[in-house]
Amino acid sequence: MNNLPLLFCGIFFTLAFSFTGIVLTSHLQFGNLTLSTEELEDDGDGNLVMVEGDPMYPRLEGGVALQGKQVYIEMGCIYCHSQQLRRESHGADMDRGWGPRASVVRDYITQKRVLLGTMRTGPDLTNVGGRLQGDAGRDWHHKHLYNPQITSKGSIMPPFAFLYSLQKVDGDPSENAISIPADSEYALDPGYEIIPTRRAVALVEYLLSLKIDYSLPEAPILE
């Protein structure tokens, strides 16, 4: 093959083909989706449609949770935890109770960095904030991050103890100290306590904020 113009055109157009097909077409097709409104109504033909109203879902990123997302990125959590739920009958994500519905394109439009992930050495975290909520969830996450063996004996997740500081109890125990049961083999020496750093607090707030608790027109949560 000595026809060089043909060779160069071929080299150019083959990649241009997939660049247009995969990257540009994606951008045109779903690169401009908008937030959904809270209300969804049946349009009479059995389709759920968005009603005019304030944009609601997915929620915007912000506050301490966004700082926590930065910690999630810095620690490389994505390499063991995905943030995408596969639909019913394609895998067992729903059967495991990992979330109420499959995740769809619109779920990610507010995220400046999308952390879908392609590995599940650990469980999926799309809806971890729906599974572990409130103070109980916060407490569990802190113990688990400090040393995964406390909550999940035999886990291979690395401990993130460097996000916590061990200190002597000065007078009354601190309110935000991590509660490790005294009879646990990981219990601390008496007179000591473990305090989360700001990064640990932010990371846990981020994990608590990961929730699929809203319907979208294309992906309603079925009761």
């Binding site: 083959t14 997939s18 990257v23 490389g76 400046k112 999308v114 392609t118 590995m119 291979i156």
Partner: protein, 495 residues
């Protein structure tokens, strides 16, 4: 049939007896001596660094408390530093050394201004050192295959372009009419890689696209890093080395045209199969699956060309250090590609996705295929560039056996582990507790660490042999004793 000779015997990439052609080749070899030594030395350093990082990450997957005291050595960072050191440090430096050299030889033109190539290469390695230090420090982007922080990537892009231009310059000033199949692969890859890298950087890091458009772009880039950069470079190298060492032409030159174009058309659509089942339009995934399956065509073509060229060579390839590695790589290319096409099928992917099966597949491709062919390239190239011979056949044997058995053990362990993991993950009734699935991977992770130690021994043997050759006083052994071959003592006496 006047057309046929053009296809069947278009060039003779094997050794010429014509002394003027030999003189021309040694002039080309000499023009690349300094830069290729620099690139190979850098590649070996990155290989060592990458292997150590890999072992730390591997051990952490069965002993999580290992090196867990500091955030610098946490799993996510060690693993990413390993991957970038191997892909961009080892892989690209090898390509810059081996493929630039083959390109210059096929174009029959010495490389001009080799000093500038050296400067560009130094900036590449500087940028990469900054980038990997950045990953470990915590500036990791957590975008798969693009972990290097923002402040290091422009330097990488610019120095890449400066290096890539050399390959294209060699082509521009080539002598002779014919363009050999290796040259198409190299030209294509030299042009594709910067396009992929720059688009991915801009659309994910600098001006992030909305939502999962990022993920789609991410996998378009990441899969093509293998498919349109490492793969064509390694295939071009094999297409050069197999006929060259055996002294016989490629089985079917005509088929190689088909192989090249079908790879160029189908491979770059395949990447989205990494998102099967994910929040991406189904048409896009279907297109990716179709392209992945169509990849069977270029793979079969290359398999016919590489394997049938070897058949009947009376095991000569087994005695040549170069071909022993190249053939191992070529066979694994066939295997890994067929497995890859199968993994893209929705029903298979449902099990293998999100598991160690994919990790095994990635190592099978990048190491079992690409790295092994590049090792073969170095074994062929260095004696010609340095005019010295490899000092130890034993070290070459250690390198081959440790790496060949090590990578096979790793792929088996990870893929069996991944299949079990995936089956259990999709069975919420019998395996409701995810922690049990996590625990069941542990024995395989231990085997993977053992395979990592084997690879490390192989790499040490390779590095030792290389530096021994470089610094040994007994230069020019090549004239006295001939090339280092992997033959037994009995055979030596016979010859």
């Amino acid at each position: 049939m006047s057309q046929m000779p053009q296809y069947s015997a278009p060039i003779k990439p094997y050794s010429s007896t014509n002394s003027s052609i030999r003189a021309e080749l040694s002039e080309i070899d000499a023009s690349l001596r300094v830069s290729s030594l620099f690139f190979i030395t850098s590649a070996i350093f990155w290989l060592m660094a990458g292997t150590i990082l890999a072992l730390i990450a591997a051990i952490k997957l069965h002993e999580p408390s290992f090196a867990a005291g500091s955030e610098l050595t946490t799993f996510g960072r060690m693993r990413s530093a390993h991957m970038n050191a191997m892909a961009l440090g080892f892989g690209n430096n090898m390509i810059f050394a081996v493929c630039t050299w083959i390109m210059a030889r096929l174009c029959r033109t010495p490389i001009r201004h080799g000093g500038l190539l050296l400067i560009a290469g130094s900036f590449w390695n500087l940028g990469l050192t900054v980038g990997i230090a950045g990953i470990i420090k915590g500036d990791i982007t957590s975008v798969e295959w693009l972990e290097i922080p923002k402040y290091a990537t422009p330097l990488l892009a610019i120095s890449y372009v400066l290096i890539g231009v050399w390959g294209i310059m060699a082509f521009r000033f080539r002598k002779g009419e014919h363009v050999y199949v290796s040259q198409w692969y190299f030209l294509g890859a030299l042009f594709w890689f910067p396009w992929l890298y720059i688009v991915a950087q801009v659309m994910i890091i600098w001006v992030p696209a909305q939502g999962v458009v990022q993920s789609v772009t991410n996998w378009w880039y990441a899969h093509n890093y293998l498919g349109l950069w490492l793969t064509p470079m390694a295939l071009g190298t094999a297409y050069y080395l197999i006929p060259k060492v055996l002294g016989r032409p490629i089985y079917s030159y005509y088929l190689s045209v088909l192989g090249f174009w079908s790879l160029a058309i189908f491979y770059n659509w395949a990447g989205v199969h990494h998102l099967i089942g994910g929040p991406v339009p189904v048409w896009l995934l279907s297109a990716g699956i179709v392209a992945s399956v169509m990849m069977v065509i270029p793979v079969i073509v290359v398999a016919i060309n590489h394997h049938l060229t070897l058949i009947g060579s009376r095991l000569n390839w087994w005695k040549s250090p170069t071909l022993r590695f190249v053939v191992f790589g070529a066979v694994n290319y066939t295997l890994v590609s067929i497995i890859g096409s199968t993994m893209a099928l929705r029903t298979v992917n449902m099990t293998t996705h999100f598991t160690h099966f994919t990790v095994g597949h990635a190592h099978h491709g990048v190491y079992g295929f690409f790295a092994m062919i590049m090792f073969g390239g170095v074994y062929y190239m260095m004696p010609r560039v340095l005019n010295r011979e490899w000092p130890s056949a034993t070290l070459i044997r250690v390198h081959f056996w440790m790496c060949a058995l090590g990578i096979l053990l790793m792929v088996f362990a990870l893929q069996i582990c991944g299949w079990i993991q995936g089956t259990q993950m999709n069975d919420a009734i019998n395996y409701p507790d995810f922690l049990e699935i996590v625990k069941s991977t542990r024995p395989y992770m231990i085997i993977r660490s053992i395979s990592g130690v084997m690879l490390m021994i192989g790499h040490l043997a390779f590095g030792l042999n290389f530096f021994w050759m470089l610094f040994s006083a007994s230069a020019h052994r090549v004239q006295k004793e001939g090339p280092t071959l992997l033959i037994s003592k009995k055979e030596v006496i016979k010859t």
